[in-house]
Amino acid sequence: MSHQSDLIASDILAYLKSQEEKGLLRFITCGSVDDGKSTLIGRLLWDSKLIFEDQLASLEVDSKRVGTQGEDIDYALLLDGLQAEREQGITIDVAYRFFSTDKRKFIVADTPGHEQYTRNMVTGASTAGVAVILIDARKGVLTQTRRHSYLASLVGISNVVVAINKMDLVDYSSDRYEEIRAEYEAFAEQLEFESITCIPLSALKGDNVIAHSEQTPWYQGQTLMAYLENVNVTDNAMGQPFRMPVQWGVRPDLDFRGFAGTIASGSVRPGDEVVVPGSGQKSRVKRIVTMDGDLEEAVAGQAVNLTLEDEIDVSRGDILADPLARPAHADQFEARLVWMHEDALLPGRSYLLKSGATVVPAQVSALKHRVNVNTLEHQAAKTLELNEIGVCNLALGKSISFDPYRENRGTGNFVLIDRLTNATVGAGMIDFALRRATNIHWQALDVDKRSRAGLKNQKPGVLWFTGLSGAGKSTIANLVEKKLLSLGKHTYLLDGDNVRHGLNRDLGFTDADRVENIRRVAETARLFVDAGMIVLVSFISPFKSERRMAREMLEEGEFLEIHVNTSLDVCEQRDPKGLYKKARSGQLLNFTGVDSVYEAPENPELVVDAGKVSAEDIAEQIVREVLGDDAVWNVPDGTER
């Protein structure tokens, strides 16, 4: 049980020796305050003697003052603070508690709160090996029980304890216990648990928590503590093929080149062959270097430093893998995505994806459906709100190496990061690489962009006009195109209104549709650039991330962002289409500048103000900037192909 070994007092050295073999178990407790979760955790801390005298003194005082147990100690108060903090508006996703016994050290992920439950629980469960799901014996299997169980299985926890609590309030009835157990097991068949252990207990009275209860002579199974001390968290990772995401190249001098990382799965020995899946380059492990001396073998979970026999290209983000069982290497995959931010997911928007030690741009290319966490039903969805879970396809800016999460928890996960706020907005579990990504390769064409542009004697690119409605974007773009045409340039103008009549006829003005609108326009512009054309794009394009996405689709120097920075007052005064009037009167919703945000560019190539300078002068200036003697796109006659 706890640190009660007589050895502590009699022979501390022997005791310390015995502690060197101690294991570690991380688990999560799921349930609301009403289920007695805090009482249960408090009691585990208490009984493992991790409550100190000074804490005990304040606990006794608090129990009498605000406790709910009369003169008895209220264990739940040991975990205080969370309620008060929630009232102060402080977001707590997970609090971590620690206790240990002579056999194991435990890290408990404690997730308070109902509203943010999905986000909190997924976060806490991501590192857990066991989930303890609390059920109030009086209430039985509730909606929230199903939700907790689904989330536990979603993040790959394979061992669950169903703690049927408050047995004292149902007279320790074995019939009630059996009833709940049968119902839970029937429900859990659709989930992917390896083991389900039901324990009748009373956290408050201590029944079957540490010691077997005399009140439940009909229960022959383990106590909760015995289960936690002995459960074999069948380390899935050990049985999988070797994977080590490379975090850092160790290079103390020219003679030593090591690759440092934590082994995600499998094991490795000197002499083993390893491959870098991206390049297909192979080598053999020469040494496993640690400060405590070279190792003969290293296994999943160890942080090591490998040197290789050959000089092959390996850098941060690569995975060293078993060449006979390679991970997927692709730029598209299907994944289950948990949304964790107040700003909803926008399919098509460019986020950053971090997986292992790799960070790449990524977008959700298709949102297939949303999963109702209470009923497990699939529902059609255009977006994911905070705490929603969806199945979607992701397209990355660059291929990465990964495994399906179900096979490998260590190499199948990722988070999504917002590019502007840097917030972590989503967490994902990869299902599989998409076939078209693994099998369809870019066609290398003989006639390329340079040759097409060379024939037209011009450098292709995009002039991207952004600004409020009525700022004068289209007027200026029209004038610029005329001038370019008169100079013999080959151009094409994509105008917001016109494109919305055709290509983007199916899109509205929600944030999600605005993102898709810009994505299609940017793709179209890219095709024209590939054809060697100078493309003028005249779109409000209110969001920075989408303009950045357009910029990133093109090569360096091909994208010129022109901010037509006419003030809102002037635009509204002009109101050429009468739209501001409609928006102000509420007839038109989601109108940029009125009730929808415009994010001004931070570093545009050019800023012009059509409220102060005439459109003609601005157009002249742009042509000079673009094609003047020292301008970026100037092609001296016949010299550049």
Binding site: I12, F98, T262, A357
Partner: protein
């Protein structure tokens, strides 16, 4: 061969992973070195993380000028032996104004010499990540702290902008001026720290072990007479007691415990048998209610 990942080996691997992530993702990280037992473990882990290379970041000590003398000796010896880059920063403005714990009280003194001193140094060297040796079990308000704790450009901890941390993936994106504090030993407990120090034979400041030392009693705490700056009553004589320290900081703010534990195993034995939580020796916790939380928001660790 079956490799048994004991709890200490798992904690060690997790910490090394975190230290490497910070080194790889940030442009200008620094390790805050407080000379205490937690810092000693953190430094040991950093040495392991990059072996046989040296850690690719400097160590920094915020010297309040009131640290135990044995701490400073230990710090300089460690720097010599390991050859790491050591930055020592003191709030010179505070020194000029004569700010000290006896004259100004612990709250104001800590704010000026420690919190302000730290902010000054972070600004001066433009560090975008700073390792700290805080642990989640030290205090209730730390139980929910992230491994990567995000700080605004003014070093404030904004509870609303903290990021969820899943698996072993840490979001390291910051804008210019913003930074993170990284806590690689978050999941270690006091007992883990001592067991690891014992197992790995990590050098620690001798003040952690009992010895007969001169102390005086102040507000119920035993304070070491470490130099002649401590004000004594006219006829007061320091008591000679066998004492040790469970935490180390500024000597006037750190209470000793009476003990006969002269070896590490004896210290661990005492800890397991006696039951007083570690921060009780720190005067700073008692000055204001909820003081840790407040200090964190202001930029203290």
């Amino acid at each position: 061969m079956k490799i048994n990942m004991t709890h200490l080996r798992q904690l060690e691997a997790e910490s090394i992973h975190i230290i490497r992530e910070v080194a790889a993702e940030f442009e200008n990280p620094v390790m805050l070195y407080s000379i205490g037992k937690d810092s000693s473990v953190m430094l040991h882990l950093a040495l392991k993380a990059f072996y046989p290379a040296k850690p690719p970041f400097p160590l920094m000590h915020i010297d309040t000028t009131w640290k135990f003398r044995e701490m400073i000796e230990f710090r300089d010896r460690m720097a010599r032996e390991h050859g790491f880059d050591l930055i020592i920063h003191t709030n010179e403005e505070g020194v000029r104004q004569g700010v000290g714990p006896f004259s100004h009280g612990s709250a104001l003194y800590t704010d000026i010499m420690k919190t302000e001193g730290l902010k000054q140094a972070l600004n001066k060297y433009k560090f975008d990540a700073a390792f700290g040796g805080a642990r989640r079990d030290e205090e209730k308000s730390r139980a929910k702290e992230r491994i990567f704790s995000f700080r605004t450009a003014t070093h404030r901890w904004d509870p609303k902008s903290q990021r969820p941390e899943l698996w072993n993936i840490y979001n390291a994106r910051v804008k210019p001026g913003e930074s993170i504090r990284a806590f690689p030993i978050s999941n270690w407990t006091e007992l883990d720290i001592w067991q690891y120090i014992y197992l790995e034979e990590i050098p620690i400041v001798p003040l952690y072990l009992s010895k007969v030392r001169p102390v005086v009693e102040r507000d119920g705490a035993l304070i070491l007479v470490d130099d002649d700056r401590i004000p004594l009553e006219p006829d007061e004589k320091p008591m000679m007691k066998s004492v040790r320290f469970r935490t180390l900081g500024c000597y006037p703010l750190t209470g000793a415990v009476e003990s006969t534990a002269e070896t590490l195993p004896e210290v661990i034995q005492e800890m397991l048998l006696a039951r007083t939580s570690e921060r009780q020796g720190r005067v700073i916790d008692y000055d204001q209610a909820g003081s840790m939380e407040k200090k964190k928001q202001e930029g203290y660790f």
